[in-house]
Symmetry: C2
Subunit: 412 residues, 2 copies
Amino acid sequence: MQEIGKSAKHASATLALCSTEDKNSALYGAAKAIRAASNKILEANKKDMDIAKGRGLTGAMLDRLMLDQQRVEEIAVSIENIAKLNDPIGDILETKKRPNGLNITRIRVPLGVIGVIFESRPNVTADAGVLCLKSGNASILRCGSESAHSSRSIHACLLDGLKSARLPQTAIQLIPTQDRAAVGELLKLSEYIDIIVPRGGKSLIERVQNDSRVPVMAHLDGICHVYVDADADIKKAVEITVNAKMRRTGVCGSAETLLIDKKVVKSHLPAILEALDQKGCEIRGDEQVIGFFDKAVPATEQDWHTEYLEAIISVKIVDGVKGAIDHIAKYGSHHTDSIITENASNAEQFLNQVDSAIVIHNASTQFADGGEFGMGAEIGISTGKMHARGPVGLEQLTSYKYQVRGNGQTRP
Amino acid sequence: MQEIGKSAKHASATLALCSTEDKNSALYGAAKAIRAASNKILEANKKDMDIAKGRGLTGAMLDRLMLDQQRVEEIAVSIENIAKLNDPIGDILETKKRPNGLNITRIRVPLGVIGVIFESRPNVTADAGVLCLKSGNASILRCGSESAHSSRSIHACLLDGLKSARLPQTAIQLIPTQDRAAVGELLKLSEYIDIIVPRGGKSLIERVQNDSRVPVMAHLDGICHVYVDADADIKKAVEITVNAKMRRTGVCGSAETLLIDKKVVKSHLPAILEALDQKGCEIRGDEQVIGFFDKAVPATEQDWHTEYLEAIISVKIVDGVKGAIDHIAKYGSHHTDSIITENASNAEQFLNQVDSAIVIHNASTQFADGGEFGMGAEIGISTGKMHARGPVGLEQLTSYKYQVRGNGQTRP
């Protein structure tokens, strides 16, 4: 692992100075290699799938792991899309001329070496390696053991791309999954790794956050709320709540809890719950909620803390926007929360006082996504406040430096 | 400590929404209280000084600890200067209108709760508490045991300021130094503390970096280099080197190592070393350096790794700008490094390839300072790449959030 870290650091110095053209050439080369190797990748994936089935993995997990021709093509297209994005490196963020004549320029530079630890989805191998490369960073990737064969075959294509652009092969390294101690060692390599990005379930992220000696950019899953205010438009309330919960239930921006002002429980709640129920969503609420909707089942304290990632929603009646803000402060995960209201003052109060990476007025929480924010691609959503908050795209994978130009100035 | 953390988190919610006027009113109130209590503060400082002398503390340490009327006045002025700075909270960093009509605004918000752990200088109590307050953050301060009485008396004035502005007393908390386990507990309070800023010697910073479960913004001391290029103007080389090393030797931006291109050793080195020697600087170099300047003493490998923070400089002859860049990559601390040259291409190579927070052409490394960068005040210099790099002022003590305004959008 020391060797892997050292060679990544070495490669990062080359990448930091490498032209956009060279980086893009490696990306287009990788996409081409993916297409050319699609049969090999599918064979490798079949091995992973067979092992997974043998281990008794469930449907959703198998689906995350599975590749077919279309998904392989999507990986190639996704690489090409990242190649088309603006290269953030070298962007001038700020310039200042000081009274003593010093010219100070703050310019964007890569972070250096990024360690990415992820689970199951084999396409993350390409996504993560390619986002790091485009942002001028070397990467050390560690996939889950269940996708070992698939990831290795995809990684080989990334190496082909690097080779075709004459960039160092150590710019994107994949750690062998056989080495079970590797994750622990990776988290201690603060000499060589600048930042660790864990992508996966809560237990992985918690382990990384607890054990890492390297700074972690955490992409925790989200307990997202939709709050239906007293002044909510009922049509918007129904449509947004259903979309926020049911568009895709397994993404981190999906809503887990519906909050509703007690003043409009009678007028608004039945229609919302009816629509959710029709989409197949289980509804958990307190006695009052069950009173309004008899298919609802009782919610426990634990429900307010739970990210279901399934077609289940917890429903709570609150006292106005203040009640909603307090509930979110207590149970939220600082990810994404939305208020539905026609009352501008309540909307602004919510947007200002809810301490989440993304706060939304009259739109679905499922917009919490780098693509939807116009970033082109994301490696995840950060719920921490250090460095990047919200969607983490190319720009969020960078740092900056100050270049100061003088003509002999000394400090008095 | 749990209680302290919890109450700080609670206070941070108030501070995040508090007006610039209220924050400034607390700051001016604190400055006024400092002036009114100057005799009390000096008495408290005398207790600390007596204990320190009894413990046999040395001159430089006693000087750092010592307060007199002028230094107390400087603390008050420094608070007033921070009150005059622009309030960064609420600044709009970016706005976007998406094709689906969503308006996305990225606005600056406070980090939340900042833990500051520092040593000896009692004025840091005021500086740190006040910078955190102005940037909308609650703070938990932990001073060194040697400045316990002085810090407590200054902290009392900050509380007066908070009281006069009707802000919560828990907005700036000082942990009793008697509680020796407190630092360890502080570093584990990730539920309540958003970021830890250690200020002090290397052993403190290393301990914090190793033990903290809370993200750390590290202000490590710096091994700063001056590189005299083959195309250096000799007058600039002499003046800048002397200033970079000798203006103040105890600051993190002072130069520790002089690198010089072998081509100009004969022409430039004697004048530079002569000037340093006249200012009382000890010179350490290899045999060749000693050959040119017989007062020089031999340097060992350890010298290139050493931040003297004293009137000592290590001198090394290198092979051109590439040699300088390689030396800095191996021994530098990513803080501040300067090239002296009239050759624009060499200058740009150095500015681009040296991986430090601050890279300088033809000016002194001692400009590495938030004030000199026009930030008004700083809590230190960050040598890490996460979050803030270089001087850490008010803006660097903030995060951001996305406010998304829609009119009923759901995600397809």
